[in-house]
């Protein structure tokens, strides 16, 4: 007959539990002893359930611009300006005014006395008749009912490239900008002022549109647009 011993009387292992360790107990059964066991691996797995794995930068926690988030302290993130969006619009043929690209300005993003800076590159790869780029604002991603914010300089002949850029100051009621109907490449000039009603409490879309004066091959597009909001 095996010696009976209380669990509290067992000799401590006095080292870390190994996955290969085996804990066995026997209890008295009608026909002798019943043995039950559990492996070290099973104990370790059970103890780790629901626990956060050790964080390893770049493996199970992302980095910001290749900077690790591990450790104490603060990481300063630039908030002025905020880049709202950047991307590449479509080059389009056709004589109707069409959407080349659009950017959502979420409700509440633009508050009084902030400004929006918009820059893009208008390009064509074919054609010699007049093409025009425009920027609109609308509460839906549609030109229908949209309000004009800017008109580019007309592009004809071999004019295939134009840096198209505008600044809009929001005074709490209107977007204030250079004349929306006069065609300028940029607002690095002086002209009449335009006040365009703007409701910052709802979603708005900045819409980049293009229009060509012949069906083909003229194909204007807003390339590499970027939209930033400045304090």
């Amino acid at each position: 007959m095996q010696e009976k011993k209380k669990i509290s009387q067992l000799t401590p292992k006095e080292r870390a539990l190994d996955s290969t360790d085996l804990l066995m107990i026997s209890e008295v059964a009608p026909d002798g002893y019943a043995t039950k066991s559990i492996t070290g691996a099973e104990i370790i797995t059970s103890a780790q359930e629901g626990r956060q794995a050790t964080l390893i930068s770049g493996t199970n926690i992302k980095t910001i611009n290749s900077t690790s988030l591990l450790g104490s302290g603060n990481i300063t993130i630039q908030t002025n300006p905020i880049t709202l969006a950047s991307g590449t619009g479509l080059n389009l043929t056709g004589t109707t005014n069409q959407i080349s690209a659009s950017v959502l300005i979420p409700a509440g993003t633009l508050t009084a006395n902030k400004s929006i800076w918009v820059r893009n590159i208008l390009t064509k790869s074919a054609g010699s008749t007049t093409s025009t780029g425009r920027i609109y604002i609308n509460t839906t991603n549609s030109l229908t009912g949209a309000t004009l914010l800017a008109s580019s300089q007309s592009m004809n002949g071999s004019s295939y490239f134009q840096r198209f850029e505008r600044n809009f100051l929001f005074d709490g009621t209107n977007l204030i900008c250079i004349s929306v109907v006069n065609g300028f490449a940029t607002d690095l000039t002086a002209s009449t002022i335009s006040n365009v009603a703007f409701n910052n409490l709802v979603d708005n879309y900045l819409i980049f549109a293009v229009q060509n004066s012949t069906t083909t091959p003229d194909n204007l597009g807003h390339k590499k647009y970027i939209v930033q909001i400045y304090d």
């Binding site: 005014n97 030109l143 009912g145 309000t147 004009l148 229009q211």
Partner: protein, 66 residues
């Protein structure tokens, strides 16, 4: 479809009142810019005026201005 309701010297779109200011600019046979006190509005013949549809932007603008 967006419907415009005409009023004296203007129109109502999406429950907002607009007053005409300046000249219209026809962009093509279905599209135009309409100058208002709230800015220059892009309009096209997908819009109706007082429930009436149009195929030509000239007819559309004549109806809009009454």
């Amino acid at each position: 479809m967006t419907n415009l309701t005409t009023i004296e010297n203007g129109f109502i779109m999406n429950e907002i009142e607009f007053t005409f200011e300046g000249q219209d600019e026809i962009l093509d046979k279905t599209q135009a810019h309409v100058s208002t006190d709230r800015g220059v509005i892009f309009m096209d013949t997908t819009m109706s005026i007082n429930g009436e549809s149009f195929e030509d932007i000239n007819d559309f603008l004549i109806s809009l201005h009454g």
